[in-house]
Assembly symmetry: C4
Homo-oligomer: 246 residues x 4
């Protein structure tokens, strides 16, 4: 199968996976807000329960095709580490992945809106703009990056689907910003004026602090896991010749 | 052991498993509605918690016997893919599985009703009939099909019990229809006028959109996983000579 | 190490494990009832969350020592199946296990009472006596037996800790009786007049219907898994010479 | 790589992991108390959900570097058992680990405070001082020690991340003290006058009863698992030459 088809398939997987992730986040947020109007914490518990399970499943489902990044900062770090150690996304891959993730995320928000009988697009009016929230995003993203690449460097990426789902489910609670930790998902969430939304004007700063967190996470990784184990996984970038879906 | 016995055992497993799945869904719905009368979201959280765990356990328990489909569209897709790639249910198997699943589902609803001291059968009065709910069913079923057969095609069906349980637990929340995603279970739920019920008149359209979703999911599968890995599982159809329970 | 020590160690593990299981059930019930006074369903959600996790952990912790039955009907079925197929508890083992489980369960209830500042013993006043509740106990126990021995017969007992925890967490909801499914635990719960308690007068009928359910579960097992796989586990009875803890 | 760097890396991992554990505990406690003001039980459910998932993830993330003890009594027992059986922390390691855990825990509380827009330090005013709470701490710590070292002695430490997370998630409910079970985390929690806090004056007695519980847990371990299996893990202390991160 030629390489162009293989990349197309991977890009489709990234768009589909990021889209469905936003559908999970936004859709379960809409359901929670409608069904539990009296307690915001209960809404977040329902939202985090659905997201933890749904994210784990999506990574499991699409990991063999594209690596199941669903997140531009994960793809960027993978590419950057790969330049140094071999493996990882190529720059060409990265340029293909990121727009697919963003467009997928937007489509996923629209799908959630329509599926719940809302207008296809409604700009979120939820301002999320304060120093302590930005700090939350940096902490959330640093932890996410350290987790994903710790598992890869120690040959345990088979645990990544459950681990990443559990991490986000927990980080909804232990960070002040409810852990967006993903620039593509952040953009997608701006398209829904519902529980999980974020006002478009709050998006840029969130993305900036997510990138900062990703840098911190990568530095911690390099200090804590300086050597790539021989058994390390390249699961984050399936090889065209070896990958099941390529 | 001859083949007739083996098929009988598999059909029994499908009837029992689908039945207990409906008992889990309907029974936990009755308990939730009785015990948490003040908040519908909390009821759904309880219902989805019980269903995610219970479904995973049932697949684990009966998978080696029958493949633990518990769902006519899963069986149909398995049969259709098997015609093209080898493996999979035969048409004769399919014709045996589907009625067992439907009859099991009805019996499971009756069991839940009786076990909770309700009338054995009470037709549900819950209308579930609207375009956005049908869309929810298509999304839910497409995702379910893509998940199950992605795992099979990449040799990871050992993860299916937990993954399918987690998927349904999440989809209760992120789809507008609370993710029935199963024609047999949909029929069964019509027999209980309780939390998880569906009015008989709403059943046919739900099934139509579930089938449509199954087709979408199958197309996505073929695009994303065009090649069946050498290590792919046929776990969805245990061979009579090799299967533990046949 | 001689056999007497080995049996003593196994009996201690059964007493300790059954005791801590009752501590988990009763203790988390006390906490839930105190902290969430307004919604019985929320109390049961908290109780089932704690029990599902705690039971899984206890089986994982003590499985290599004694098989982690913590339940007289599990031990009895194991013994009975072993008579027919080899392996399994001996009658002498069974006679040692059951009193240890019952005494452990009582001690576990006392521990929970004392740890939460209640009287060491207070007979439960919660009547649980009705046909549909007894039916719930039979369903719950049949499913438990079928699950445990399905996993053993198909060589997948490594999944038992999580599977049994998940099963009970789900069965708290989908059975009308909240799934005691264990004669020793039923006796223990009579010693605490709190959320998870059962009036002493309701205990005998519960035990009778648990035994009936165990028989149904065993019959289903023999029909569905007639052949013991070559890779079947004897994990339910560690051999003295091979077991880690014996 | 020389040994000094290796120890530095392990100490950093212990400080970071213990710190993030306290951030998870305190941060999710702050979020829960703010978002679910009407029901303390719901707050604890949210707090225990976040802690169970977060703790499992942290152990998975940092286990290969330092063993992911994050707890002085775990490190001390590991050292003590190692003196008898070989393996385990050296005394020098122990002396390096414990201060790192304590300082990390304090930093983690400060991080949670700041991330949620609170004062960096506010001494907790929550008195936790009563015999039945102390008993809760001893029970919680005994169970934790028995669990961790049971898994290690039977060669199943790969299950430790999920098992320890599940144990603590359950023990929040089944112990009267909500299971601190960790002297470093106890100290850290004193620095935040929020849901998960503990008044400084209540800390010493909690630590004393945690140590007592650790001794009980160790004695139970030695009785139940007298022989270290040949397949036993030394995962609690990665060897400098073999460990991925050292």
């Amino acid at each position: 199968m030629n390489d162009r088809w293989a990349l197309g398939r991977r890009v489709l997987a990234e768009a589909l996976g990021t889209g469905l992730l936003v559908t999970v986040v936004v859709g379960s947020g809409i359901a929670a807000a409608k069904l539990s109007p009296g307690d915001t914490g209960l809404q977040l518990l329902e939202n985090s329960f659905a997201t933890a399970l749904g994210l784990a499943v999506l990574i499991l489902m699409l990991g063999p095709v594209s690596g199941a990044h669903f997140n531009p900062v994960v793809s960027a770090v993978d590419c950057w580490l790969g330049q140094r150690n071999g493996g990882g996304l190529t720059v060409r891959d990265l340029i293909a992945y990121v727009p697919a993730q963003i467009l997928g995320a937007i489509a996923g928000a629209v799908l959630a809106n329509v599926m719940f009988g809302e207008a296809a697009v409604s700009w979120s009016a939820t301002q999320r703009s304060a120093g302590h929230l930005w700090m939350g995003e940096s902490v959330a993203t640093a932890g996410l990056i350290l987790l994903i690449f710790s598992l890869a460097r120690s040959g345990r990426s088979a645990a990544a689907p459950v681990a990443v789902g559990a991490y986000i489910g927990s980080a909804y609670w232990f960070t002040s910003s409810t852990s967006f930790a993903n620039p593509a998902v952040t953009v997608g969430r701006a398209f829904s004026d519902t529980f999980a939304g974020i006002a478009p004007g709050s998006v840029p700063a969130f993305v900036v602090f997510q990138v900062a967190g990703a840098i911190v996470g990568t530095l911690l990784l390099v200090v804590l896991y300086p050597v790539v184990a021989e058994s390390a996984d390249e699961v984050v970038v399936p090889h065209p010749e070896a990958g099941v879906g390529s």
